[in-house]
């Protein structure tokens, strides 16, 4: 794929983290990066112009959700996701696998694919590697994912081995089915907490020569040390000249710990989801805008933040909007949280280039609070 490649520009002497440029058909982006999630072709409450202003690079959309609503044929007929949602930067879609498997007992996994019920209307649906690729070709993102099973945590070595081997066969089928020249199809490393299965998964995928590799099956309930080991057990088999994407991870500290382990791309619904409930990430740690003490606090959410919400509105106003369930409040809080993670990724890139990511991590923990390891964010 000629329009897509990764260029490592600098490796942090203190940590081994890498700063790089990812070239995509919709422009170059800097890594490590945080990718805001626009599940249904909209990052909830944030306009494309606001995303750009915040320094957003790649935006994610969910295959499963868009397949059901409005339907991938409609997105295709609109000219693809970029046109449909009016975002001219790079877009990434997942494979639908994670959503299908998180449905639990309502689905049935077979070699051919997965049968499950629609969350929208309860109808019976079938997703396979070929089908997932076909949908993602309709959606037209720059970066797309292989259809994989995201196995539960914990599970037995036997279950995981079977799952990994099937996911590898699915990756092969997806690769064969994929025809669009303007999309980079990533392979997804699975294997849970089992180092031998991570190795099997990574090595097999690397042999298949994907333009990028994702790490799946993390952030599914395992303790942080296990997650970090899963990353290490995967990354060590991946080539230096390809991008690495840690799927579904957006706890601030995990961006730093992930980057230190060689991760280039992160995504998570966390910043927008918690914002809609009034929970905020700040340079001074977590805060909840519902707190009575912000009632007449006329300072911004975060004095170190330069987002639209922090430049223009006070905690008292944001608390008022949130208490009254106002749309604009949800937008402003979402903007702040997404800006926080985009800025954190930018700070990580700077620290890598200055060979001081370990120092940066200490400074971050000092400000944010060391209990971030025990919390969702």
């Amino acid at each position: 794929m000629k329009d897509f490649w990764y260029e490592c520009k600098h490796v942090c002497k203190q940590t081994g983290a890498r700063y790089g440029i990812l070239h995509t058909p919709h422009g170059d982006v800097e890594t490590p990066m945080f990718m805001p999630v626009g599940t249904l072709a909209t990052v909830k409450g944030i306009s494309p112009e606001q995303l750009k202003e915040m320094g957003s690079q790649v935006v994610l959309a969910n295959t499963y959700h868009l397949w059901l609503r409005p339907g991938s044929d409609i997105v295709r007929d609109a000219g693809g996701l970029h046109q449909f949602m009016n975002y001219d930067g790079p877009i990434l879609t997942d494979s639908g696998g994670f959503q299908v498997f998180s449905l639990g007992k309502t689905r049935k996994i077979e070699e051919e694919g997965v049968t499950f019920k629609s969350i929208v209307d309860g109808s019976k649906l079938f997703l396979s590697p070929e089908k997932s690729i076909a949908i993602q070709e309709d959606l037209g993102a720059d970066i797309i994912m292989s259809f994989d099973e995201c196995a539960p945590y914990p599970c037995t070595h036997d279950y995981m081995k079977n799952s990994v081997e099937r996911t590898l066969r699915w990756a092969k089928r997806g690769q064969e089915a994929h025809k669009r020249e303007d999309q980079a199809l990533f392979g997804i490393v699975q294997g849970g907490e089992f180092a031998d299965l991570r190795e099997l998964s990574a090595k097999t995928l690397v042999d298949m020569d994907f333009p990028g590799y994702s790490i799946g099956g993390t952030s599914v309930g395992e303790p942080k040390p296990i997650m970090y080991k899963m990353i290490e057990d995967s990354v060590k088999w991946l080539p230096e000249d390809k991008p690495r994407y840690l799927m579904g991870v957006g706890n601030p500290i995990d961006l730093i710990e992930g980057a230190m382990r060689g991760i280039d791309m992160f995504d998570c619904v966390l910043p927008t989801r918690v914002a809609r409930h009034g929970a905020l990430m700040t340079h001074h740690g977590r805060m909840n805008i519902n707190n009575e003490k912000y009632k007449r606090d006329f300072t911004p959410i975060d004095d170190k933040c330069h987002c639209y919400a922090c430049r223009n509105y006070t905690r008292a106003y944001l608390r008022h909007l949130h208490k009254c369930d106002e749309i604009f409040g949800k937008s402003l809080l979402s903007i702040h949280n997404v800006a926080f993670l985009l800025d954190l990724a930018a700070d990580i890139r700077k620290a890598i280039q200055e060979d001081r990511l370990a120092d940066f991590k200490e400074e971050f923990l000092e400000q944010y609070g060391r209990d971030v390891y025990e919390r969702a964010f």
Copy 2:
């Protein structure tokens, strides 16, 4: 009040409608104008920057709602509404009367004021002319309203006469209580459908010499011909050199019919409220974005509209967002409807200056549909 005055610039030779400039402490605005409603210090789903971009001039906020949440003392301590909501254009607040009286049987009217229950927590509240002014002084809008009774429609001449006389005594008490030099306090003409009471109300208020006059008690269920007559029965007693505000009216045709009867200011929650349910005003009449036929319609809502939503998004995308209950969809549809009424007011001003408002009305009805007289919009 030296910073507030109305200047009539042109009277339409065809209709008698007037084009003018209203000078306020937060800038000059052109009339006739539509004023978007920001009940709780936010025009639902629309940022101040977007309002400005759409040509919004005066924005309205509701005294009753802000008194309950977050509390007028908090808005005062924030530096007033302009600072609190970050809108540097002129702001208007109502008196709280309309909301209190729309509570129906749960309130008790006495000469001193009105006792009623809070919609937020059920607590017992009391609002009087002096209290309404005190709250509005805290909120700090440029234009504020006298506390009035908005009597039900229909009601007897006896009830209305009592009500109008009390409202006139309340207007006097409010005028005496009002101290801020940077706020224009309007008197409100009431009297329902009774020409003699409209005359009594208007003449008494004019004797009291307010910097502007509102017309209340319309759009409360009466047929349109009766509403238009209420306007005529009120306006004819009002001075040429003061602005006239028709409260709570936002049906497109009523902006035209109102302007033709000498009205300068209009406001209504209609555009944002119906937008949140997918109902849109367009140059081709009403449309509902939920309609199946827009599923793969990749044209804008309204090809004659230049709002942000129409410049950037298709009906198919907006329908999708609306179906999925996405915040961004509510924002885009609200932006379109508010822009439609702001643009309509601009078109009315142009037609007045060109002495062709009656012709414009015919052209509008031809496009929008003549059934607009029978509908909410």
